[in-house]
Every structure is written in structure tokens, then in C-alpha cells.
């Protein structure tokens, strides 16, 4: 079974040289720590920056330079700043190669719910609806089951949707799965996790085709 950093490490293996990537808040943010050596990846922050760098050194933080999580950050050489309309032109126009974000639920047809729980204070969708509606490649980073032990990979989402038919791949602490026409296709198992355990934690249709390899982390 993977911890949060393990999930991030596995997702980092999906990066390709030259990719423009938007990382959501939470586990997705950790992906930036595991860029394969020698690979040139540019991070987009939807509040208006390409080439997002690390947090600033204590004392060098700048109130005018934040990321989409409102944290103080830095910009790397070759980076650029732009306004929010331009930022979402990059997103809607499919110029961003990969979006990694968290989810509360994903359906076997690739629907995603990650912004609203009825009866609870709703903070808003931020840029999530624009991102999921537009990205060519969306990877969801999440826990396989919720805190109550219920599967987050479902036949259909029970929570209000963020987008439909958009998720391509899911990486959890247990497995890598692809969304296909026929349901969740099991691609890899986390180290030490059996197909049966994954099956038990997956409420949506799970396709197990032949021998399932273990992830190489």
C-alpha cells in the first residue's frame, strides 16, 4: 500500500519531457517533488503563472507572488505571469498537457465529484470545473476508500458532479486504474496489495485482464 508520497511518486512516472502540468491542492502538489531527473516540466498555476518554483526562502516571500492555493511561491527561469482569462485560455484551449487533481468520487465512466457535499458548507469549485472539462489528460490522485471505509470508485457518483466523462487514469494507495468504455481497468497493483483487496475496495465495475503487475516505485 502506498502513502501520499508514494501516490505522488507513481503519478510522477506519467510525466513526459516538455509537459505543461497543472497540479491541484493536496496529494497532487507532492508530484512536483518527484520529477524524473533530466526531465523538463513546466508547472502552471491557474492564478496566473507558468514556471512555478518552490516556496521562497524565509524572508524572501512576496505578497504579489502566490500560487492557486494562495501560498507564497517563487518563479523559475523562463517562467511568465499572466491574467486569469489568459490562464484559462491555456486550460480550455488544451494547451496544458496534464492535470492532476484530487477527488471525492470517480465513476466508472470517468465522471468526477470533488467540490460539494450536500449539507456541508460549500466553498466553491474554484478552477476545478474548467480544468476537468478541458484537459486532454486528467489523472486523479486520491485514496481508494473514504474515511467511512466506502469505495470512492463507483458505478455512478452520488455527490454533485464537477465534470462528466473526463477522468482518464486514477492512482490510489492500492492501484493504478484506467477509465475505459467498460469500466475501471486495473493496470497496476501497489506493492503488497492483492487483486482481491482492490476488488473489495472498488464498487464500480473492475476489469482485471490477465496478470496485474506490481508498481515500480
Amino acid at each position: 500500500m502506498l502513502d501520499k508520497n508514494g501516490i505522488a511518486k507513481r503519478i510522477a512516472q506519467e510525466l513526459k519531457d516538455g509537459y505543461y502540468v497543472n497540479l491541484g491542492i493536496g496529494i497532487p502538489t507532492l508530484v512536483a517533488n518527484y520529477i524524473p531527473e533530466g526531465m523538463d516540466i513546466t508547472f502552471q498555476s491557474e492564478n496566473g503563472m507558468l514556471g512555478m518554483g518552490s516556496f521562497p526562502i524565509d524572508g524572501e516571500e512576496d505578497a504579489d507572488l502566490i500560487n492557486a492555493g494562495k501560498q507564497t511561491v517563487t518563479i523559475l527561469e523562463g517562467g511568465s505571469y499572466f491574467d486569469s482569462a489568459t490562464s484559462f485560455a491555456m486550460i480550455r484551449g488544451e494547451h496544458v498537457d496534464l492535470t492532476v487533481l484530487g477527488a471525492m468520487e470517480v465513476s466508472e465512466t470517468g465522471d468526477i465529484a470533488n467540490w460539494k457535499i450536500p449539507g456541508k458548507m460549500v466553498k466553491g469549485m474554484g478552477g476545478a470545473m474548467d480544468l476537468v472539462a478541458s484537459a486532454k489528460n486528467i489523472i486523479v490522485a486520491m485514496q481508494h476508500v473514504n474515511k467511512a471505509g466506502e469505495s470512492k470508485l463507483l458505478p455512478t457518483c452520488s455527490l454533485p458532479l464537477t465534470g462528466v466523462g473526463c477522468v482518464k487514469r486514477i492512482v490510489t494507495e492500492l492501484a493504478v486504474l484506467d477509465v475505459t468504455e467498460n469500466g475501471f481497468k486495473l493496470i497496476e497493483r501497489a506493492p503488497g496489495v492483492s487483486v482481491e483487496e482492490i476488488q473489495k475496495a472498488t464498487e464500480g465495475k473492475l476489469i482485471v485482464d490477465g496478470e496485474i503487475p506490481e508498481m515500480k516505485i
Binding site: I75, A85, V122, G126, D130, S134, P160
Partner: protein, 232 residues
């Protein structure tokens, strides 16, 4: 052509109860803090505020919320404010949540004279309820309308007496697309210079979109999430 007004109080002249205002900024980054302070002082009430976020307790739009001056917020994310939550749950405050890219584009469209456009964001979600949807090239899109307001209030780094603006770092955010989306657009700047001093090649927002400009008295520039790493 001199668009300079003396201060924030003069800039918001004519901004009355129950008006709709558009305010720039992302979180607390690049918000028109002097104008907000003047709105608090003036005590205008029943405002509809269009802004990506709603400030925090004690700063930004949080100051207007505390004084119950806002009737409705139109935003993409409003999570950081206890008073906001209290007013929302008690029914004192109305809230409309809009996807962030749609919010930016609706403001841009308002300024650009485009009454509506199609976006894929929110298709088949509750955001699309009651809206026209249409298929283009095999994909579904939702029709969204422009946003316009009585006043648009934005914040830039440098400006000149003609209203030309230059922004610094990630403060461009909603300030650029919102310029011109109000009948009157107010720009508050950190440094106001005579026309001719800014390089025309470096202007981010041309002065035509700005009706009133002033140099803010002070900028606190509060940081919402101070995240740093240790010095090596």
C-alpha cells in the same frame, strides 16, 4: 486627459447602495484594498460583489462582510472566511458560485462587448442547470453571459495619469479581465506617474478601460498562506 482622482473616497463617488461592483484580486493578492477601506467608511449597503474570493476575516472583502454591506457574492471560491460562512448559513448572504475560468471570461466578455459565449466548464453539472447547451465538434458546451457592473475596481502596481496600467507578478489575475467591465472602472495603484513615463511597450492594461485612477495611501498586502523554506 487627466483621470486622476485625489483618493479612494473621491474614486468611489457615485457608488451607492444596492449597486453591483466587480473587484479584482485572487485571494488577498492584488486586491484594491484602499477602495475597499473607502467603501467600508462610506457605509454603502446591499452590494452585489463579483470577485473571485470573498476575503478573510478582518481583511479584503471580509471587512465589507463584517459590516453587513454585501447582499450577494458572486465568486468561484469562498472558503477562507468564518463570518462569510456564518452569514451564508443564517441566510443573510446570497452566494452564486461560478467556475473560475468562466468567471474570468464573463468579466472579460463584459469589458469586450461579447454578450455570451460557450464554455465546456460545468457541462452536465448543476452549474449548467437552466442554461443553453450546444454541441460543437462533438463536445458539449454551456452558454454563459457576460458580467457587467456599475463599478469595476481593480488594483495595479504602476499607473499613469491616462489610466495605463502595469501589474506586478501574480497580481494580474482578475484585475486585467475586469478592467472595463464596469460603467466606471477605478484603478488604484501603488505608484502614479505622469503620462509618458511608462514605456508604451510595457503597458498591460491600456488606459481606455480606466475612468478613474489614484495612488493608494498605503498597501498592507496581507499574505494569506505564508509558506517558506528554511535558509540553507
Amino acid at each position: 486627459m487627466n483621470k486622476v482622482v485625489k483618493n479612494a473616497e473621491e474614486a468611489i463617488q457615485g457608488l451607492e447602495d444596492n449597486m453591483t461592483i466587480i473587484l479584482g484580486g485572487f485571494g488577498l493578492c492584488g486586491i484594491p484594498e484602499n477602495s475597499i477601506a473607502a467603501l467600508v467608511k462610506k457605509g454603502v449597503k446591499g452590494l452585489t460583489c463579483i470577485s473571485n474570493n470573498a476575503g478573510v476575516d478582518g481583511f479584503g472583502l471580509g471587512l465589507l462582510l463584517e459590516k453587513h454591506q454585501i447582499k450577494k457574492m458572486i465568486s468561484s471560491y469562498v472558503g477562507e472566511n468564518a463570518e462569510f460562512e456564518r452569514q451564508l448559513l443564517s441566510g443573510e448572504l446570497e452566494v452564486e458560485l461560478i467556475p473560475q475560468g468562466t468567471l474570468a471570461e464573463r468579466c472579460r466578455a463584459g469589458a469586450a462587448g461579447i454578450p455570451a459565449f460557450f464554455t465546456p466548464a460545468g457541462y452536465a453539472t448543476e452549474v449548467a442547470e437552466g442554461k443553453e447547451v450546444r454541441e460543437f465538434h462533438g463536445k458539449m458546451y454551456v452558454m454563459e453571459h457576460w458580467l457587467k457592473a456599475d463599478f469595476a475596481i481593480i488594483k495595479a502596481w504602476k499607473g499613469d495619469t491616462h489610466g495605463n496600467l502595469i501589474f506586478r507578478k501574480t497580481t494580474r489575475n482578475f484585475n486585467i479581465p475586469m478592467a472595463g467591465a464596469g460603467k466606471i472602472t477605478i484603478a488604484e495603484v501603488e505608484e502614479l506617474v505622469p503620462a509618458g513615463e511608462l514605456d508604451p511597450d510595457q503597458i498591460h492594461t491600456p488606459g481606455i478601460f480606466v475612468k478613474r485612477i489614484f495612488q493608494g495611501e498605503k498597501f498592507e498586502k496581507r499574505i494569506e498562506q505564508r509558506t517558506v523554506r528554511a535558509k540553507l
